[in-house]
Structure formats: C-alpha cells, structure tokens
C-alpha cells in the first residue's frame, strides 16, 4: 500500500535537510526520483545516499525561466511525472516595520510563485495519465504566524491555500494535492540555537523534542502512496503537538 515502484518523482530543494530525506524515502519506497536544487555537489551527495541513478536537475527557483524548464527536463529524464514535491524554500527574516520589498519578493518568488509554476507545469501530464500526487512542504508558521517571518508565513499560508484550490480542480482526475506543515525540525539551523533558545522552543512542544527530517519524509511517502488516495486538499501537521489544529 505504501509501495511506489514505477512512480516517477521530482523533488525540489533535494540538496539537503528535509528535501534530501524526502528524496531518499521516495526512492526507498521504489520511486525513481529527479533531484533539483541550486547546489550540484549537494545534489550529487543526495544521489549517492540514494544509491540509484537519479537525474540531477539544477534550478534556481527565483528565476522563472529556469523554473519553467524544470518539469519538462524531469519528464524527459524519467519518461513522465507522477509525484511532485515542492519542498524548496527560503527565509529572509525581518520585523515587519523593517522588511524590505526585496525580502518580501524574494521569499514569495521562491516559496510560492515557483510552486505555482511547477504545479501548473505538471498538470498536463498528470491529467492525461489520470494520476498525480502533488505535495507542498509548508510550515507551522504558515498556519500560526511567527514574529519576524511575515514574508515566510505569507508564502507558506499561500502554498496551503493554493494547493486547496488546485485540489478542488483536479480531484476528479485522480490527482491529489496536499500540504505538509512541519514544526521545528532538527537541522543545521536548529543546531545553532543556544540552550536558552532551545529551552524556550521546547516549552511550546508537547513532545519535548525537535522533529526529524525522516519524520517529515515518511509523511510525504504516505501522501504519495495508494494509502492516501482519498486524501486531498489536506494539510498534515507534523509538529510534535505544538499546534493541534
């Protein structure tokens, strides 16, 4: 039921962290996975960790001319696409009163506009084959908000809303569109927190620990699998109980 043998997937932001684990988990479940990101070396590391032949498709998601070539390249490399994981994201934190237009624009472009373009691009093939799984990696911040992250929160809330609208449109074609909203996930960024910051965060998480990238990846495999065929327009909250919504 969780087997993805024969399925073809594209994962953005597959160079590290959650994206790498998602790519590994999809491949472990049997899928062929195309890896996209900006750092070729890191993508090659992901491919090596997977241990199978993975097309490596470098793409700067802030450049729409590059974005619009990504899906055709993945379809050409894999012979089509069954699964799209919009995982790539970035932050440019600043308090609202200090936030520059460029900080807003850059985060919206990568986190939301690129996902819109990629979603639109995969639809043609998925409609024809009457099968598709689109998964957006959002954030608890898109649901709850977070000071200093007005741009990031807007982009992630936008992703969730966009995916719900698209889920309505294509549900009759056996294409599901869902989002995953991770809470605090252990990463290079959380490694840098000092003890006091860590304590403050833990106080908000009933599970009393950070999540792991594997725990997010498992949810992506679930949503891509036959087990989740009747789930669409959903946002799966993966946050250790931080926000029970």
């Amino acid at each position: 039921m969780f087997d993805l043998t024969g399925k073809r997937a594209l994962v953005t932001g597959a160079s590290g962290g959650i994206g790498r684990e998602i790519a590994k988990a999809l491949a472990a479940a049997g899928a062929s996975v195309a890896l996209s990101g900006t750092r070729v070396g890191a993508l090659e590391d992901t491919a090596a960790a997977i241990g199978k032949d993975c097309p490596i498709l470098p793409c700067n998601l802030s450049r729409l001319d590059e974005v619009d070539k990504l899906v055709p390249a993945a379809e050409a490399a894999l012979g089509g696409l069954d699964i799209l994981v919009n995982n790539a994201g970035m932050t440019r934190d600043n308090l609202f009163m200090r936030m520059k237009d460029e900080e807003w624009d850059e985060v919206l472009a990568v986190n939301l506009t690129a996902a819109f373009h990629l979603n639109r691009a995969v639809l043609r093939g998925m409609m024809k084959q009457r099968f598709g799984r689109i998964i957006g990696i959002a954030s608890v911040v898109g649901v709850m908000g977070n000071p200093g992250q007005g741009n990031y929160a807007a982009s992630k809330a936008g992703l969730i809303g966009m995916n719900k609208a698209l889920a309505h449109e294509v549900a009759s074609r056996n294409i599901t569109v869902n989002s995953i909203a991770p809470g605090f996930i252990a990463s290079a960024m959380t490694d840098e927190l000092n003890d006091k910051q860590r304590e403050a965060i833990m106080a908000t998480i009933p599970a009393n620990r950070l999540g792991t990238a594997q725990e997010v990846a498992g949810c992506a495999v679930f949503l891509a699998s036959d087990a989740a065929a009747y789930i669409t327009g959903h946002t799966l909250n993966v946050n250790g109980g931080m926000a029970m919504i």
């Binding site: 409609m127 449109e169 009759s172 074609r173």
Partner: protein, 78 residues
C-alpha cells in the same frame, strides 16, 4: 466532411468517450456530450496540440459546440 472536422471529432470521441454519431455540429460539449469544465480545458489543449495553434482564453470560451471548434480551427489553420 472536412479534414479538420474529422480530426476534431477524433479528439472529442477519444477524450469524452462518446459515440462518433453524437458528435454533430450543434452538439454542446457540456450539455450534450457530458464534458465538465476541466474536460473543456483539456479539449482546447488537445486542439492546440493537434493543430499547432494557440487558442486564447476569450476564443476558448466561445468554443461550446463541435461546430464552434471546427469553424474556429478551420479559420485558424486556413
């Protein structure tokens, strides 16, 4: 029957899974042939592919029947 009409009919029959006899000039994709709004978009995209033309949104809205499609595409490729 023109070549354009034959090609359009083939696409409609395949896509909407209907009998060719039902695809007559006045047949409305939605009212007579069971299409939904997504089918209509897919049909327009299939026409674009088959005839290598661009069908702008306002023109696509005017293509409601088999006859509409044939006359638009006849002009477009002519």
């Amino acid at each position: 029957m023109s070549d354009v009409a034959d090609r359009v009919r083939k696409i409609v029959v395949e896509h909407l899974n209907v009998d060719a006899e039902k695809v007559v000039e006045k047949a409305s994709f939605i009212d007579d042939l069971g299409a939904d709004s997504l089918d209509q978009v897919e049909l327009v995209m299939a026409f674009e592919e088959e005839f290598s033309v661009e069908i702008p949104d306002d023109a696509a809205e005017g293509i409601q029947t088999f006859g509409d499609a044939v006359s638009f595409l006849t002009k477009a490729v002519g």
